[in-house]
Symmetry: D2
Subunit: 384 residues, 4 copies
Amino acid sequence: MLLQQAYETVRNRTTAICAPLKTEDYVVQPVVDVSPPKWHLGHTTWFFETFILLPHAAGYTAFDPQYNFVFNSYYETVGARVIRTDRGNLSRPAVEDILRYRQYVDEAMQLLLQQELTPDLQALITLGLHHEEQHQELLYTDIKYILGHNPLFPPYSEHMPLPDTITNNSGDTWLNMKAGIYNIGFAGEGFCFDNELGRHKVYLSDFALSTHLVTNGEYLDFIQSGGYQDFSYWHAEGWDWVRQNQVTMPMYWYNISGQWMHYTWQGLQPLLPDTPLAHISYYEAAAYAAWKGYRLPTEFEWEAAAPQLAWGQRWEWTESAYLPYPGFTKAAGAIGEYNGKFMISQMVLRGGSEVTSPHHSRITYRNFFHPALRWQFTGIRLAR
Amino acid sequence: MLLQQAYETVRNRTTAICAPLKTEDYVVQPVVDVSPPKWHLGHTTWFFETFILLPHAAGYTAFDPQYNFVFNSYYETVGARVIRTDRGNLSRPAVEDILRYRQYVDEAMQLLLQQELTPDLQALITLGLHHEEQHQELLYTDIKYILGHNPLFPPYSEHMPLPDTITNNSGDTWLNMKAGIYNIGFAGEGFCFDNELGRHKVYLSDFALSTHLVTNGEYLDFIQSGGYQDFSYWHAEGWDWVRQNQVTMPMYWYNISGQWMHYTWQGLQPLLPDTPLAHISYYEAAAYAAWKGYRLPTEFEWEAAAPQLAWGQRWEWTESAYLPYPGFTKAAGAIGEYNGKFMISQMVLRGGSEVTSPHHSRITYRNFFHPALRWQFTGIRLAR
Amino acid sequence: MLLQQAYETVRNRTTAICAPLKTEDYVVQPVVDVSPPKWHLGHTTWFFETFILLPHAAGYTAFDPQYNFVFNSYYETVGARVIRTDRGNLSRPAVEDILRYRQYVDEAMQLLLQQELTPDLQALITLGLHHEEQHQELLYTDIKYILGHNPLFPPYSEHMPLPDTITNNSGDTWLNMKAGIYNIGFAGEGFCFDNELGRHKVYLSDFALSTHLVTNGEYLDFIQSGGYQDFSYWHAEGWDWVRQNQVTMPMYWYNISGQWMHYTWQGLQPLLPDTPLAHISYYEAAAYAAWKGYRLPTEFEWEAAAPQLAWGQRWEWTESAYLPYPGFTKAAGAIGEYNGKFMISQMVLRGGSEVTSPHHSRITYRNFFHPALRWQFTGIRLAR
Amino acid sequence: MLLQQAYETVRNRTTAICAPLKTEDYVVQPVVDVSPPKWHLGHTTWFFETFILLPHAAGYTAFDPQYNFVFNSYYETVGARVIRTDRGNLSRPAVEDILRYRQYVDEAMQLLLQQELTPDLQALITLGLHHEEQHQELLYTDIKYILGHNPLFPPYSEHMPLPDTITNNSGDTWLNMKAGIYNIGFAGEGFCFDNELGRHKVYLSDFALSTHLVTNGEYLDFIQSGGYQDFSYWHAEGWDWVRQNQVTMPMYWYNISGQWMHYTWQGLQPLLPDTPLAHISYYEAAAYAAWKGYRLPTEFEWEAAAPQLAWGQRWEWTESAYLPYPGFTKAAGAIGEYNGKFMISQMVLRGGSEVTSPHHSRITYRNFFHPALRWQFTGIRLAR
């Protein structure tokens, strides 16, 4: 009963996010990391068809056997995948076909959900819903990229709230934490991802975290004091990235005839100095911290301090690489590919953002991205 | 009066070509040489707005000043262009916006066409119509590419005629031509492009052209006798192209479980052996000719023999590079960029194809493409 | 006095490593990560000229002011660097010029070393010697790459010892370690790099490390059981690496007409099954461990267990990313660039190898490389 | 007897060209079009071993069977070739080995040349000598590239003559040629390449060629009047080339603190305004001609006018693509690959240069390069 409601809520939220789009907006893939919105609509549906309905719903027939080829993501177990860079070339299936696909799968799922389900199957459906909620955040960030890189700068929706303002942005209030052994990782009931499991002890030295996130105005100081021109603040790899891509400001920022602007859900707007900075790479986060004379927190420091912090506005880059916790084990089969295989060359982000789905902000949640990526709502909290 | 009718006819034909498409099909750009259909719709309209209406229609206001940036092609004189590879990233302007743009410009053009126009202006409008007719052929070939490279192989339209059949495909009937001086280039009245002008004498030795085009079945013999595995038939550059791209058959051909298929306007179909071969590169055309012990004609041989040949089904690769005729001069201004600046690294094609627009097949017409390109309806006529 | 001797010993060892080379071998750079041996000869000399002699030796004149441009590596503080990929294009300075450069700098250094030096200057010279010893190991691995990728497979020297044999390679002896707090990082006197400093507490859960390294024979089992064809053992990034590079075996291995061979210091030789495996990427190390049902150790586990292990034959990939220790601080100026700026996107290796210089194997020593690199003597020790 | 002398003369001239080099200079390959000098030494020798000695000299044993793999160029018939970009990675065979290879082959050739040889074999040896003379010119241009792109700008030799001075560079003297039929292609006795054969009639309209080559000073006017900033002079492909490579002057030119310099055989020197311009691409040649209001000659105009012109200082870009003459046929076997397979995407150059070998300047000689290449001694003669 609860699962039925949860299913309906999550599935409807996905299509609601797409409601302000024009059909054309569902199709394009401007860069490899951004997927076309219609692909997200299909892929999340494919998950339920492939892992729930085909193996567990008696008499279920696939909507279209070709869709496995089109909407498979990285699940190598399941079949040949569409090369990721090709997604933006596919005009078909059309949006209306994918919406019919969603309806077809949703009807079969509602039938299934009326039956008595094993705990394992319930857990798998719950995983499917969490998977879809992760794609909801990607839908937001991918839509922002698609519209925000169009020369016409079309707004997404007038009804999105502006981000919060940080009133005290002096940067000088710190939460001091004592050295000692802390317990890290998920405990208790409810859903979590496999990468949060294996609650374990970590020894931390004395440290302090800033009580607020870095603001646009603070980051502008870094720009205006030459931060992008001085290699000494940067990792060698970050400096190469700055120069090869001629980076001089965060993603979505523009300096138009001397005025600082940024692309927002409402279109191009003057830069708001007191809102939390967003859309910076790990390299930029680390360089800013070095310029300030501080550093980024580790994910363990963050988790230890989080109960005493206000957080959830930005995904906060940490100085921790995304690696398995002690005792991490992969689940068997395709589900086992969910997280473990990405545990290389990525950095952990903690917190959440203004577009994070419900249930995807918790103190033990481990988000992760390559250090160069900026299209997520990434931000900075300083440590010392 | 005639120009008014011509304008309406040409402009309507463009939108009619797009009628079978879904909105999503207008948006994608699977490879750099293929443009999104909505870009063709906008770009041909932009031509009239920029070169006719803005300078010559009193009181005309641009539909949207940003569109110059979006729909400019290669006309460096007019302003910064959108980098060509980015076209497929632009979800906006939406198709409906572009159709309103077309209507807005068409209404202004119809008003202008009711006035007395100078011969120069009439010539410029005529050029604009020929420009749009060239894009009509590109619309067909780009649509074929977009649908024919989709894993679902959607048909374009049931109403497109199948290509003609060549009944006598023995390949052994030749038109013999005598050595002597021939006149090459456009003469007479009516429209032609600047690259056809400068009618001039060319001396040709004795030669003979095949009276028919190479068929699918004949080309299949080349494949099955190992033509793609024997470098001795290929130019060095062509052989590199074969190996780097692992080419083993013409574009749109597939060997599915031993059966030869090709993508057509009606979707995936068994290969028709007696229709003229299409969608091969210059390298393949030259290799096929070498395998047969013959060669390709020069564009001068083709033009001299054409009055005595049946032609128009395929753009026939010639052994001539695309170079200026003696006395070629560029027109002043942006119009002068039309043809001359492409006169390097391209090969001439003569004839026409099943999707060539009316008035774009004539004996002096010079089409041209890079030797590796295959998405046009290119074919082979042998010479010796 | 001691420093004078150390200087002479280290500097002579560098040229001795190059003694078996032909002049041509000093020049080439087959891939970007490998530097020409003559560049190593020049760069290590440039370090002493730039950081010691020019600022501290009264009246010293640079050997050739252009050499700063040619031999600078990554020291952004000092001046424009030669783009790294260009090193292999530089036929000049010739080897004989660089040897004269070495002699010129060595003579000036010996004069300086006869004087009373401040502790800071002594420390800087010591750093220069350790820097040169790091390049000695790179000289070995770069020379192996240059000769081992030449189709003639020339031997380096008959006098290099063969690697040790592991007699008990059953893989079933483990060192068990108890959970608790361990101290990590350099302590005591003597030289260490800045990345080892900041001795600090780390809590470790119970764990066990294999007492021996994985052998060639054991790894051959992985190959022959299809390890390179089954994505489930691999990180997603590793699997892409395998397929893009068509990797099917360690670097320097060849299967010639069914016989397994590997390139060694003595040329191409039959594969020795009982010697420790070398020249594998982090991806391969992690995939092998997954196939065995184990994992790689963290660098902290390694350091805690090392006093009870035999180690030093291979650089052992750990599951730890290369990140700063708590309290890590960069030194001021160019020397500060030494390590900190590489602390992103690299994995830590612990141990040492058959070509590691004296003083470059110690329990706290942190080596690091990108996970795809294989030209170092990298190996595997399993953990559980 | 004559052939014996010719053999010795040609072979000695090759090693004499390399005499001023240091060993290191023989090894590097800074760009793909430039080959290491030691490769030229080996490849020309390989030609005689493979095509003359192995099939025709009884009892001859290959010097080293691996050399076929290392020194084969593009002769697909003969065996797997070394990928061209890899040549600069090969430190072995060493220069001394290759010189022994030359001596070994030369001794066997001298023995063979003392015997009675068939006319076919004599022709093949003659082709081998012409092949080597072509590589002599490449040796010069490749050496210039290797030294001229080294930051130390080492001179090649003090003994190379400076290029000639053009005293009357007013550019206003023209040779007028009458319309009519001209005979094009090689006639008479002596050696020629297959691409010159098939003497045939060509009809030319009235035309005129400049009596002198464009000078450095004249080209400087083009630069200083903004020629590299105005797309209207350029082919579309040329303009892309200018912008992608940020080209602003000919190869080997430098503007150092306001003074124009160029790299010459004697090192870096002030630009000589009255010497013929060299090292420009076809794009630059065509753009210069367009800026002057003229054009480049066709290869047929050039050949018709050449008897009345002074020529031979520069390879003069023509407006003709490199295509087969009527009746061109490839020889059978590997020799047949010599020229025909390059007849695509290249432009013809006529004339010769200061480093052209004896017997490689004649009125019918057809040189050819891709339009972007500049490392040859290419120049400009205007036509109208």
